[in-house]
């Protein structure tokens, strides 16, 4: 009798282990790169990014990459031409007394949107590169912007806003 119970118990343990192994394998299989070859790191650009200091909050669109870089205790928006492997100037976008939080760029590299803290306030601004102009986008109803995403065609922003104790998302059409 003891032998039979032992066998059943052992059989259950094996079955449990097998089930666990199948579950782990299924989970691993689910996320194990089903499309064949691996993506290739873009070494030259990655080296260039590493040289400018820390960088975060990437926005990639068309040939453009916007990131927030930190060097010497100061954060600023950096625009890179990925195809040309070069920095692109954004005169009038960065201010020494502003702290950028989130940035987005459109596929033409003409429009950038930025959430930044300035003089104790958090604001959303739209930058047009050809005009070197910066335009505030008011929060209506009132709220505090945080993260943003820009549509690749530059026609709309999706903005995460703190409002009434909740995070909400507004879609803002750009003229």
């Amino acid at each position: 009798m003891h032998r039979i119970i032992h066998r059943i118990s052992r059989s259950r343990r094996i079955s449990h282990k097998l089930g666990l192994a199948v579950a782990i394998a299924a989970s691993a299989g689910l996320l194990s790169g089903c499309m064949g070859a691996m993506p290739t790191p873009m070494a030259a650009l990655n080296r260039q990014l590493a040289m400018v200091g820390t960088n975060r909050a990437p926005s990639l669109s068309g040939r453009w990459l916007a990131v927030i870089t930190g060097r010497g205790g100061r954060d600023q928006v950096l625009l890179l031409d990925v195809a040309g492997n070069a920095h692109v100037p954004v005169p009038g976008l960065n201010r020494g007394d502003a702290q950028p939080i989130s940035v987005g760029v459109d596929a033409s590299g003409e429009r950038l949107a930025l959430v930044r803290q300035l003089e104790g306030r958090t604001e959303l601004v739209l930058y047009r590169r050809s005009l070197m102009s910066l335009q505030p986008i008011p929060m209506e109803p009132a709220g505090v912007p945080h993260q943003l995403a820009m549509r690749a065609d530059g026609k709309e922003l999706a903005v995460q806003i703190s409002r009434d104790g909740l995070w909400q998302i507004d879609l803002i059409a750009l003229p």
């Binding site: 989970s27 691993a28 689910l30 996320l31 194990s32 790169g33 089903c34 499309m35 064949g36 070859a37 691996m38 993506p39 290739t40 790191p41 873009m42 650009l45 990655n46 990014l49 590493a50 820390t54 960088n55 975060r56 909050a57 990437p58 926005s59 990639l60 669109s61 068309g62 990459l65 990131v67 990925v82 596929a107 986008i137 008011p138 209506e140 945080h146 993260q147 943003l148 995403a149 820009m150 549509r151 690749a152 065609d153 026609k155 709309e156 999706a158 903005v159 995460q160 909740l166 995070w167 909400q168 998302i169 507004d170 879609l171 803002i172 059409a173 750009l174 003229p175």
Partner: protein
């Protein structure tokens, strides 16, 4: 209303009040992804626009918390950060074929945010390594068909309740 017209992304449930974070919008504006806090889980929700109908995602469920979704031009590709065991991993789902791509990261680095190029041919991933943030770019040419302006939208089925 001023120069900028706006609309709020509507609630997903009947109760109305929901935390919605980390927005991503497809290049053509037809899809919006965001992270919804519900039942202690942070889940990526994909919605058609402007109607707001939810669209099913095949590979993300069970790998919460999700963060940092990003969409290609027609919404064919959605990339996000998900949890696999103790690891944060960057994945990309092809909604047209149902296939999944896991994006490898250097050992010891944790992904924090990502941004997929609208054509799906590159991806930028912010990783944290030794307390420092840096952005790494990956070339996806040859891995994914380009998702270009004017391409066909992948509608997908409605999300399971």
């Amino acid at each position: 209303m001023g120069l900028f017209s706006r609309r709020s992304v509507g609630p997903l449930g009947p109760l109305g009040a929901e935390d919605r974070q980390d927005p991503a919008i497809s290049g053509n504006g037809r899809f919006l992804a965001s992270v919804l806090e519900q039942g202690g889980k942070a889940m990526v929700v994909l919605q058609g626009q402007p109607g707001g109908q939810t669209v099913a995602l095949r590979h993300l469920r069970g790998h919460e918390p999700h963060s940092s979704p990003s969409l290609s031009w027609n919404g064919r590709y959605i990339a996000a950060l998900v949890q696999q065991g103790p690891e944060r991993v960057a994945i990309l789902e092809d909604r047209a074929t149902g296939k999944l791509l896991r994006l490898p990261l250097p050992n010891g680095s944790q992904p924090a945010r990502l941004s997929l190029a609208p054509d799906g041919q590159r991806i930028a991933i912010e990783v944290t390594e030794g307390g420092q943030s840096r952005v790494q770019l990956f070339d996806l040419t040859g891995q994914l068909e380009p998702d270009l302006p004017g391409g066909l939208a992948v509608q997908g089925g409605p999300s399971a309740p």
